[in-house]
């Protein structure tokens, strides 16, 4: 256990240069973007004089080195700066928007895993059967339909035509109030507050965007499960287990699936990261106040602080995610130790 704690500590230490690099690069990249935020934010009628005033207000008249020093200084105090495009501190923006995106992403990934892993396993076990073909069709459809299209299609069918889904107006219909904020996840917060009505309202709002994203993420997970499962099932230890007369269940899940899970977990990590990229379109369709649309808006407006804050948050998120995945490897496969280089 001690070795594990030390290994985690070492991992965390290794992330420091990564974070420093991200801070420097995100600063330089935002400055290298074409576009002049002072002109943008000076508004429709600004003349040269007012543009200059805005430039001073935003601190953009100072040399780059000074701007960087100010940025790092603020960062060390935990201040990510002020987003001009939303008019709020970046930290506040991220704190409200990141949970919205995470809640949606996590729900979608859970749904996706619930469908994709059994589907992949079945497709591998019954190779060439109708389940295998079904898996192939779903996977191809899921990956080839762009999320904004599936999103709009689902809205059209389930909201517009059938009227089953609630209005696609973000995380909660306006007749409900946000639950008292603890985690920022509406599902969890409403349960913590004991408010089941808001819980169901939030769950209803989540349904369509979750399905949209899940359809999109099904493909890589199902494919990877199928391939890994096929490989596992054809390996010697499975033949051995079968020869030893172990139950089919034990062979499939105890030995086959457990060994196949390693690449699946790796894929999950990758899927998680590209979902956060693909989520922008889903957020737009469902008016979801998430981090993807926030980053895109900030980028369009050359809103330096917001872009930098977003990049930094994402970097931290991925560092954590990779750590969690590494740790889960060791749980799944005891052969992967922390001592191993």
């Amino acid at each position: 256990m001690d070795g594990r704690a030390r290994a985690v500590g070492l991992r965390l230490l290794q992330t420091i240069p990564v974070i420093v690099g991200v801070v420097v690069i995100s600063f330089i990249l935002t400055r290298a973007l074409p576009g002049d935020p002072a002109v943008y934010f000076a508004g429709a009628m600004a003349d040269a004089e007012s543009i200059e005033q805005v430039r001073q207000d935003l601190g953009l008249d100072k040399p780059l080195v000074t701007q960087f020093a100010v940025y790092v200084g603020d960062l060390l105090r935990g201040d990510l700066g002020q987003a001009v495009s939303t008019g709020q501190p970046v930290l506040t923006d991220l704190a409200t928007r990141l949970p919205a995106s995470l809640e949606l992403t996590i729900c979608a990934l859970m749904l996706s895993c619930l469908i994709a892993i059994p589907l992949g396993v079945l497709a591998a076990v019954r190779q060439g059967s109708w389940v295998d073909h079904l898996c192939r069709v779903i996977v191809t459809a899921g990956v080839s339909l762009p999320t904004f299209f599936t999103g709009i299609l689902l809205v059209y069918v389930f909201y517009y035509l059938l009227g089953w889904a609630p209005s696609p107006l973000g995380r909660l219909d306006f007749i409900y109030l946000d639950p008292p904020r603890v985690t920022g996840f509406h599902l969890i917060d409403s349960l913590l507050a004991g408010d089941t009505e808001t819980f169901w309202a939030a769950a209803r709002q989540l349904t369509l965007p979750t399905i949209t994203l899940a359809l999109f993420t099904l493909a890589p997970i199902a494919r990877m499960t199928r391939a890994a499962m096929l490989q596992a099932l054809s390996s010697d230890y499975i033949r051995m287990a079968r020869a030893a007369g172990l139950s089919r269940r034990k062979v499939l899940f105890g030995y086959g699936l457990r060994n196949a899970l390693l690449p699946v977990v790796t894929t999950l990590g990758m899927v998680f990261s590209f979902v956060l990229g693909a989520i922008v379109l889903v957020e737009k369709v469902f008016a979801w106040p998430g981090i993807g649309s926030y980053a895109v808006e900030a980028l369009i407006a050359s809103d330096y602080a917001a872009v930098q804050g977003f990049v930094l948050t994402m970097a931290l998120l991925f560092v954590t995610l990779n750590l969690v995945i590494d740790l889960s490897y060791a749980l799944i496969d005891p052969r992967i130790g922390f001592g191993a280089k």
Binding site: D36, V39, A48, Y156
Partner: protein, 535 residues
């Protein structure tokens, strides 16, 4: 001394007199009660304070709904039957009456006695002075807009007593009174603001950014940035008839397709600023209002820094080669007003007006052959990605048409953040599309911004000495001054002949309404729910 009544009548007479009942909206209130109105809009509100740096257009609605100005605009019915604000009718809002000195330099306003801020304290002339001082001092857009009416410095504003406010101008201007009715000079509760001001922040920018302190028709009760803004009616409003709708919820819905589903299902009562395409397809299923935006024109601009465009025949060749009708149909879905094929002779000062150019490839070729670029040339046509919905189809149609003349165009798509810098500030784009719209609805105000030398929206780098001096000469003259109309006509003649900006069409502001009525077009292009009611 002129009384405001006479002044008011003059305004009314100038506009033709018909359908000019100042409180026309108040008589149409035989509607079924609508308690809560939900509005879907694609834009985000980023501040409750219009004076703050970076406040976007969608946020102007807070200044309109939650604050009062000294004066407001009346209503009129457009020839199409739609309702619109009326630039020529100035009505009282916080001011009960006003007088203008004979030399036009001193405007004296008397405030309504019972006007109160939402915290119950009376509105005083000191609040007006503080608010105006703020608008001219904070810099950026608010100060620019204040200057348009001749309000430059705090020493022009004076609070004589609690109810008398005096505004002194450096020169008389027809733009001064209307400029008091635009969103910018809104009156803030200065006591509350000053309590929340600091040494670093003397104008309470941080406080008013998230809280309103006004006397307007509505109060913001909830603002979830990026999601919604909730207005609650101020029952003690004295600026006009108390609104019929008690609660207005502005929901941000970025996807146009989702907004369309919401308005068709009737889950929102208003879908504000919808794309031209949705407007043309929704017409018939729900109420769609497509009002041509006053004093706003979508133009193709020819930069005089680019050598071929210095040749007047090249400019005319381009103007005759543009496929206007095809652009109007595919970029605007026929919403708005055509700006081509007008008469050669200028008999009135209507603006925007169709220019006497239309698609005529023979004439275009003739002009190009007369020029020193008879064999054509290569040029980059720039468009903004942020405005791609109309610019992209327009650019493609122009590219095809100009190609027939031997003018080879390459389309360059510029990201939104960069667009203003290169198009308007640096003015380096050779051939590009542009749309300017002036808040103050007079042609000379458009000329001031778009045709005068080095002005921000003169992205063609157009420099004509006569246009420059004549615009200065009449900008502040009343429009009924005998000198005004002849000069204005002369100005129009010059820019039609020189054609540095080729008008394509006047765009429309499209609004879909389902389950509400009383929609009115406003020059600031924001929803004014104060005059809306149920069906």
């Amino acid at each position: 001394m002129k009384t405001n009544r006479r002044d008011f009548l003059k305004f009314t007479a100038a506009a033709g007199g018909a359908a000019m009942v100042p409180f026309a909206w108040a008589t149409s209130a035989h509607a079924q009660a609508l308690d809560t109105m939900v509005v879907a809009s694609g834009q985000t509100i980023n501040s409750l304070d219009l004076h703050r740096t970076g406040t976007n257009r969608a946020s102007y609605q807070v200044a309109i709904n939650c604050y009062d100005r000294l004066v407001g605009f009346g209503s009129k019915q457009l020839p199409t039957g739609e309702m619109s604000y009326d630039y020529n009718t100035i009505v009282p809002e916080l001011a009960e009456s006003w007088t203008i000195s004979d030399d036009g330099l001193v405007l004296t306003f008397t405030l309504k006695e019972d006007a109160k801020f939402s915290d119950g304290s009376p509105v005083t002339a000191a609040d007006v002075k503080w608010s105006f001082d703020r608008a001219v001092s904070v810099g950026g857009f608010p100060s620019v807009q204040m200057r348009a009416g001749g309000f430059n410095r705090p020493d022009q504003f004076e609070a004589l007593d609690d109810r008398t406010f005096v505004l002194t101008l450096d020169f008389p201007s027809k733009l001064s009174l209307p400029n008091l009715a635009v969103p910018v000079p809104f009156i803030i509760n200065s006591k509350v603001a000053m309590e929340n001001a600091t040494d670093d922040d003397p104008w309470a920018m941080e406080y008013l950014h998230t809280t309103t302190a006004g006397s307007g028709a509505y109060i913001v009760t909830r603002w979830d940035q990026g999601q919604q803004l909730v207005y609650e009616r101020n029952d003690a409003w004295t600026g006009g008839p108390v609104p019929a709708i008690r609660r207005v919820i502005m929901r941000e819905v970025p996807s146009a397709a989702t907004r369309r589903a919401l308005i068709e299902r009737g889950d929102v009562q208003v879908s504000f600023n919808i794309p031209d395409r949705d407007a043309s397809e929704l017409a018939g299923t729900v109420d769609v209002f497509s009002t041509p935006i006053e004093n706003c024109i979508h133009c193709a601009c020819l930069n005089s820094n680019f050598e071929p465009f210095q040749d007047p025949d090249v400019r005319k060749a381009v103007a005759y080669a543009i496929p206007y009708e095809a652009i109007f149909q595919s970029a605007a879905y026929g919403r708005g007003a055509p700006m081509w094929g007008g008469s050669q002779e200028i008999t009135d000062t209507a603006w925007p007006r169709p220019f006497p150019y239309s698609t005529n490839m023979d004439l275009a070729r003739e002009h190009l052959e007369k020029s020193s670029f008879a064999n054509g040339f290569d040029v980059t046509m720039s468009i903004s990605l942020g405005l791609a919905s109309w610019m992209e189809p327009t650019a493609l149609l122009m590219q095809e048409s100009l190609g027939q003349l031997g003018i080879t165009t390459e389309i360059e798509r510029i990201p939104g953040a960069n667009w203003r810098t290169v198009a308007l500030v640096d003015k380096t784009l050779d051939l590009h599309l542009e749309n300017f719209g002036g808040w103050l609805n007079t042609p000379d105000y458009y000329f001031f911004w778009a045709y005068q030398r080095e002005r921000l929206f003169n992205s063609s780098n157009y420099d004509n000495e006569e246009v420059h001096t004549l615009t200065d000469q009449i900008l502040h003259l009343p429009m009924d001054d005998p000198e005004w109309a002849p000069v204005m006509k002369r100005l129009m003649e010059i820019v039609i002949e020189d054609i540095p900006r080729i008008p394509l069409y006047q765009p429309a502001l499209n609004v879909a309404v389902n389950g509400a009525s009383g929609y009115e077009f406003w020059f600031h292009r924001q929803l004014d729910p104060r005059r809306m009611t149920g069906v």
